[in-house]
């Protein structure tokens, strides 16, 4: 099939970017979305043009590298998929596809479709861990964890840090990202001890890095490729409030 692409091109972090149109013929429905971009890049390189730069690595929806805003939605029109899992079967002959990078003050664009999500690591540094040193762990089965709690913790722990929640949020808030980690660790007895402090520290870092605040629109949940629930944001709020006026 033949498609029209409108792709954001930007030379560097400080350059002005703009959309460039490409007509791509000979696209197969068998392709994944990123294979379609590989195909475009092959043609660009062979024609002596610069290929479109985009991030990708595992290509199976688990590393969180790929991050494209496609036709107005993070990771494109399909639900519960990352960009690399999106297939061209979701598009039709003659479609126009608009591709942009994640846009947020805290995710500056480095080049073309690559946004810098380093801020997520910074938030994690603020408290996204259990303070246990190697070797000081007790026998793994010494603390049973109720199955429901463990399952719920897992539901939060599946976050791949892709940033779709920020990209989807009208306020560029990272609440779902923070909530996933806080909730995951708060639900486990191992992580309980530091829970309030963790929520406080990670949220403070989130605010400091220029992410917006949460208005509970639910767009993050709807766009999260891993289906992480808003309920985790409620738990994050709870952990934050429980900490009270202490710290």
């Amino acid at each position: 099939m033949d498609i029209k692409l409108k792709i954001w091109r930007q030379e560097g972090p400080k350059s002005e970017g703009s959309f460039v149109d490409y007509n791509l013929t000979g696209v197969s429905k068998d392709m994944s979305f990123l294979e379609m971009l590989d195909f475009l890049n092959k043609k660009l390189i062979e024609n002596g043009d610069d290929p479109v730069v985009f991030e990708h690595d595992c290509r199976e929806g688990i590393c969180g590298s790929c991050a494209l805003f496609i036709n107005g939605r993070p990771h494109g029109p399909d639900d519960l998929v990352t960009t690399c899992e999106l297939r061209m079967t979701k598009f039709n002959d003659g479609d126009t596809i608009v591709i942009e990078p994640w846009r947020a003050k805290s995710f500056p664009v480095i080049k073309d479709l690559v946004a810098d999500r380093h801020a997520f690591d910074k938030i994690m540094e603020a408290g996204g861990f259990i303070s246990v040193n190697t070797g000081s762990a007790p026998e793994a089965n010494s603390i049973p964890v109720p199955r429901e709690k463990a399952d719920e913790a897992f539901d939060a722990a599946v976050c791949i840090g892709c940033g779709a929640c920020v990209a989807a949020c009208k306020n560029s808030s990272a609440m779902l990202f923070v909530a996933a980690k806080v909730s995951h660790l708060a639900l486990l007895p191992q992580g309980r001890a530091e829970s309030g402090k963790r929520a406080r520290a990670m949220l403070a870092k989130m605010d400091e890095l220029g992410f917006g605040s949460c208005t509970n629109t639910g767009a993050c949940e709807a766009e999260c490729p891993k289906g992480i629930s808003l309920a985790h944001i409620a738990r994050l709020n709870r952990e934050f409030l429980k900490e009270g006026f202490r710290s």
Binding site: F19, R103, N171, L203, S213, L230, A234, S247
Partner: protein
């Protein structure tokens, strides 16, 4: 203390608490207003009770404070959020991922604020600072608020403004109700659904309740 209020979630807490307070106030307000449908004396006595009850008198400044807090903190957060995406997307498709009211709470809030100003100057100001005739029931002098209110509602565009106000309120509550609980952490996957349903019903009752009054009196003028 400062780390609590410096955090966006801490500020959201203020919006949420004040919001729930205002939500409760709406129920009381509507209950009194519905006496309008029961006739002049019933309404005037209810209004008199409210105006003279010491508990209500104490709550009045608290209510004002609640409004102020809700408006000021929301405005502050909204303004802050404006700066979080300097380069906008060229195309955004949120039809399936979030509701229109949830994305436009500030706009809805502003519309309600405008309505509120009109509403206060029309009724509250006049009742508070005079200009309303008195009427006597069983030897008690009370303000004839009934005549003041119904006198306005028979004007069609006045009634229309009040119906519009109720619609804005409904949209605001549609998101605000469940959002307030979410911010307080009083939600989970099950309660999220329940609160959404309760919020939807509550918003409908409040909006329909407030809207039915001007419609009732306006309709009355046509029937007479």
């Amino acid at each position: 203390m400062s780390s609590f209020l410096n955090a966006s979630v801490g500020r959201k807490f203020l919006v949420s608490i004040s919001g729930l307070f205002l939500i409760t106030f709406l129920a009381v307000h509507l209950a009194v207003n519905l006496f309008l449908l029961a006739g002049q004396e019933a309404y005037n006595m209810a209004a008199h009770f409210m105006a003279t009850n010491p508990a209500i008198k104490i709550m009045e400044p608290a209510l004002a404070l609640g409004f102020l807090l809700h408006i000021v903190v929301s405005a502050y957060l909204t303004v802050t959020n404006q700066g979080t995406r300097p380069q906008k997307y060229s195309m955004v498709d949120q039809r399936k991922t979030s509701s229109w009211p949830s994305r436009n709470m500030f706009v809805l809030g502003l519309l309600i604020l405008i309505f509120l100003a009109l509403h206060l100057s029309n009724f509250w100001y006049k009742m508070k600072f005079g200009g309303v005739a008195y009427i006597e029931y069983d030897g008690v002098q009370v303000q004839d608020a009934y005549t003041l209110v119904t006198g306005k509602f028979v004007i069609w565009w006045y009634a229309l403004i009040y119906v519009a106000g109720a619609v804005f309120l409904r949209l605001h509550l549609l998101h605000g109700f469940q959002s307030a609980f979410q911010t307080l952490g009083l939600s989970n996957q099950l309660w999220y659904k329940r609160l959404t349903v309760i919020g939807t019903v509550y918003a409908l009752i409040i909006a329909a309740g407030f809207a039915i009054i001007p419609v009732w009196f306006l309709a009355g003028t046509f029937l007479n």
